[in-house]
């Protein structure tokens, strides 16, 4: 785990700042101009089996590693009301026993070859992923196939996983970030699937039974509703033959998706303060409904959000609230675009005494980007970051697989990767302003704060009526 933990070390230990300080140094400015680096994709080959399973092979021979990832195009969004966590339980149980192997046997076999085999759910998909050394591929593939095609969903394993997830849910209340997110989504989405913790809660998990899990699996796990990527040190034609042998007999079927009613947008400010009497710092989440992935203004919105708060070191929120005011270590804005409209959210944390100031400045920045065109240089910076860094999203086989699956999941089109940078380049400051106008709404927001009530409440009352909740 040492090497794996390294990246996490770096990501979490992030300690950098950024701001859009003008262009005092023309030499450095001009460095951004010029020809863009070519996107260098490894050889990619596709084949669709007779049962509809699309297989994509990504060839990369630098290291003797082979990875497999199956994406099933249904996820927590398909959890029925009151059953939050169903997709997560179904996916999680795949590796917990098959018709011929117990959970322990699967764990023993995978660990013995030093590989990883994991399964889980996302809002729009369930994923099963395997990664291991080439010399152990036969064992890995056998297990990968078995957990996908023959899961047992044994009662004892259902109970065990349910208990773990309830425990995990309850203990997540110790984490201010989890707590603020849970309440933010609940207030924003109500009974819509996005209003619930995707892994389930202590209320919903006890109500999920075996027939529902089996049904979820039967309804959505179909070759015609899935994409399989094999990547690494492989020969594509050989792989297609081997994988067809494993998955060719998987039965095609009609997959039916339920209708989901759209949530009502929030009116005015809906403010919740979750009291943690011993908190030295407040966690803040605020926002409103955002966009779906098919939104035609996706690129305009993305560039706008980069300048507002998505661009890390270069964003206005980071520049103001962190670098200039010193109120936080991190602030970020995000449009979570899913098949259905996900949230627009701004999250930060600051000492209890400065919660009001941080929120106020955030609103200022939202209003400013709605009111005035961003500077031509700001847009140029956002574009040159997005386009300049784009080739780096395809460095490792895992990254390439992730990008290709994203194109598949959201039907972005075969030319998406090739056309990406032209689409970024075409966005104008007027389009950015129009996107801010249409998709930001600083007057109608959900605001959730997890912090010390006595120190925070008066600051929040400045924005409107405050509902207070004690942690149970």
């Amino acid at each position: 785990m040492k090497v794996k933990s390294l990246i996490i070390t770096i990501v979490l230990a992030a300690l950098v700042i950024g701001c859009g300080a003008g262009d005092k140094v023309p030499a450095y400015k001009s460095a951004a101009a010029g020809k863009l680096t070519e996107i260098k994709l490894p050889p990619i080959t596709e084949k669709t089996l007779a049962n509809g399973l699309k297989i994509i092979a990504v060839e990369k021979h630098e290291l003797p590693v082979v990875s497999l990832r199956l994406m099933v195009k249904a996820g927590s969004t398909q959890d029925p009301l009151g059953k939050a966590g169903l997709a997560g339980m179904t996916a999680g149980l795949l590796t917990k026993g098959t018709s011929s192997r117990s959970a322990t046997e699967i764990a023993e076999e995978i660990d013995f070859i030093g590989a990883s085999l994991n399964s889980g759910s996302d809002w729009d998909a369930c994923n099963v992923s395997y990664s291991g050394l080439k010399k152990h591929f036969d064992t890995g593939l056998e297990l990968f196939t078995d957990v996908i095609l023959n899961p047992a969903f044994q009662a004892a394993e259902i109970d065990r996983l349910r208990k773990q997830r309830i425990s995990s849910y309850i203990s997540s209340k110790d984490d201010p970030e989890s707590l603020v997110n849970e309440h933010f989504h609940r207030l924003l989405y109500g009974n819509h699937p996005f209003g619930f913790n995707s892994e389930g809660t202590d209320q919903t998990l006890p109500k999920i039974n075996r027939p529902e899990i089996v049904d979820f699996y039967k309804n959505y796990f179909a070759p015609n509703n899935a994409v399989l990527v094999v990547s690494g040190d492989i020969v594509p034609e050989e792989m297609f033959t081997i994988l067809e042998g494993k998955f060719g007999g998987w039965q095609q079927k009609e997959v039916v998706f339920p209708e989901i009613v759209s949530p009502e947008p929030v009116k005015g400010y809906k403010i919740l303060l979750v009291n943690r009497p011993d908190a030295p710092q407040s966690q803040v989440a605020m926002g409103h409904l955002g966009i779906d992935r098919a939104n035609p203004e996706f690129f305009n919105i993305n560039l706008m959000n980069y300048t507002l708060g998505g661009g890390g070191f270069a964003s206005r929120l980071m520049k103001k609230v962190r670098s200039e005011m010193g109120l936080t270590y991190g602030i970020d804005s995000n449009f979570s675009s899913r098949k259905l409209a996900g949230p627009f959210s701004i999250t930060t944390f600051t000492k209890n005494e400065s919660v009001g100031a941080a929120i106020k400045e955030t609103f200022n920045q939202m209003r400013l980007i709605e009111k005035e065109n961003i500077k031509v240089e700001e847009l140029a910076d956002a574009k040159s970051y997005m386009n300049g860094s784009y080739p780096m999203r395809f460095e490792t086989p895992g990254q390439v697989a992730g990008q290709l699956l994203n194109v598949e999941l959201y039907n972005l089109g075969a030319d998406y990767i090739a056309a990406y940078r032209d689409k970024v380049q075409a966005v104008t400051v007027e389009q950015v302003k129009a996107a801010a106008d249409k998709y930001l709404d600083p007057d109608n927001m959900v605001i959730v704060v997890v912090g010390k009530k006595d120190a925070v409440i008066e600051q929040l009352k400045e924005f409107g009526e405050v509902e207070v909740m004690e942690i149970q």
Partner: protein, 450 residues
């Protein structure tokens, strides 16, 4: 993946990866890396450079490693290494505050920095034709950093927020800090990398300037470049931009040695919480000791994967813990073999604790099985290879051995040593280090009402 959240947090606070061997001359490079052409270079001012070309993707990872971290601090200025890392983004002679980061992003690069007990690292990942820009920017802030009262004032507040976020408002962070402040009585590892709040308030501009002069001198810095670039050209650029920076005196060595622990230390944190936590640590030798490799193999058997002893017993079979595991702090001076456990809310800490320590005691009482030993070796082999999938990770692994161990080849020596560990070795180190008298235990006791 929530289950793995604690071990990952540990990895953050802790130093990372690998260990060094003492004898680097007889290293055989594993076949997977036989084609790697790692080269070592040195400028006249003492700056070391490590290069590895890899043209498979149009990406270069540039990493500037300074051999300084919280172990180089003293009471009164704890946290200065990390605070200083922040100050490196606050402007130089040529550039204003945050301009360095802004220029890198404008050119399509990703950048960041991190500080551990032993090192501070600044890195950029960027497309190949921007390498000169990056070298010029990094050399500029190394040579001409501008530390002012106003930038220190605002950044001090940012770092205090970071401390609240990582330690004071995070149950695990609090317990982790307390483990170190209890297990260590003399050595600088007793304070956390982020430092004590009162010291963060007290550090002055002069402290920062002096810290920069000594610890950020070229003779204390190693640059690692991995990816799609030409070595000869890069070396010319390194000479052009870094060559003129003057060397300084060698930083004072860390001479304090932690005295032996002669009895268990137990400490409690009471906090509003749902989940009782336990963190324990045993003093173990430094990363150059032969026993360290053996402890790493033991760690794999104890807690890597769902078939590991702790997961199987405490999480799967007995279901007393939501998670349980162990690891090594991987520090340059003697570190800790730590254990962590999150007890299911409503569960009994005492019962879970007994089960946890019973699993540890087993290593001293009975030999591990042949299968477990082979599994651990296979896992360590796979970790090494699968941990090299990007230029950044290659650079981080090589750089860590180079900077903390003095020779990147020790990365491969470690791989060889793991394969030689025996069942008897494991039993011996378990007896020697993983005993009650050498143990510090910190328990978070949930208080529902405050």
């Amino acid at each position: 993946m929530k289950r793995f959240y604690l071990p990952l947090i540990l990895a953050v606070l802790v130093c990372f990866a690998f260990i060094q061997a003492q004898d680097s001359t007889k290293v055989s490079i594993p076949a997977e890396f036989a084609s790697w052409d790692v080269q070592q270079h040195e400028l006249a001012n003492g700056m070391k450079i490590l290069t590895l070309e890899d043209h498979s993707a149009p990406v270069v990872s540039f990493q500037m490693w300074t051999h300084t971290g919280s172990r180089n601090e003293r009471p009164g200025i704890t946290g200065i290494s990390h605070l200083f890392e922040h100050m490196m983004f606050k402007g130089s002679k040529k550039f204003g505050a945050e301009e360095h980061a802004n220029i890198v992003q404008r050119n399509g690069g990703n950048l960041n920095a991190f500080t551990t007990e032993d090192i501070t690292v600044y890195f950029e990942n960027i497309v190949p034709d921007k390498l000169e820009l990056i070298i010029s920017l990094e050399a500029e802030r190394l040579a001409n950093l501008n530390i002012s009262d106003s930038t220190l004032a605002s950044e001090r507040e940012v770092v205090k927020e970071e401390r609240r976020y990582r330690v004071e408002n995070d149950n695990f962070g609090m317990v982790y800090e307390q483990l170190h402040s209890t297990a260590y009585t003399a050595h600088p590892y007793q304070w956390s990398v982020v430092g004590w709040m009162s010291d963060l308030d007290a550090i002055t501009v002069e402290d920062c300037r002096e810290y920069h002069r000594i610890h950020y001198a070229p003779n204390n810095v190693t640059v690692v470049i991995v990816g799609d670039f030409n070595t000869a050209e890069a070396l010319k650029l390194m000479e052009k931009y870094y060559g003129k920076i003057s060397a300084q005196e060698t930083p004072a060595p860390v001479s304090t040695v932690e005295p032996p622990q002669n009895g268990e230390r137990v400490s409690y944190v009471k906090k509003q919480a749902q989940m009782p936590l336990l963190l324990a640590g045993y003093h173990v030798p430094d990363f150059k000791a032969d026993d360290y490799y053996i402890l790493q193999v033991l760690q794999k058997i104890l807690s890597d994967g769902r078939s590991s002893r702790l997961y199987k017993k405490l999480v799967y079979e007995e279901q007393v813990a939501l998670y349980a595991g162990g690891g090594l702090t991987d520090t340059e001076n003697p570190g800790l073999f730590y254990l962590y456990m999150g007890v299911n809310p409503g569960g009994e800490m005492d019962k879970s604790k007994k089960m946890l320590f019973a699993e540890i005691d087993r290593f001293a009482k009975e030999e591990v099985s042949d299968k477990e030993l082979q599994k651990a070796r296979n896992q360590l082999e796979a970790d090494l290879i699968m941990g090299m999938q990007s230029n950044m990770r290659k650079g981080m692994n090589l750089g860590d051995y180079q900077v903390r161990g003095g020779d990147y080849k020790l990365l491969f020596a470690a791989a060889e040593k793991y394969q030689k560990v025996t069942k008897e070795d494991i039993m011996r180190v378990a007896k020697e280090y993983m005993n009650e008298d050498n143990r510090t235990v910190v328990i978070l006791v949930p208080e529902k009402e405050m």
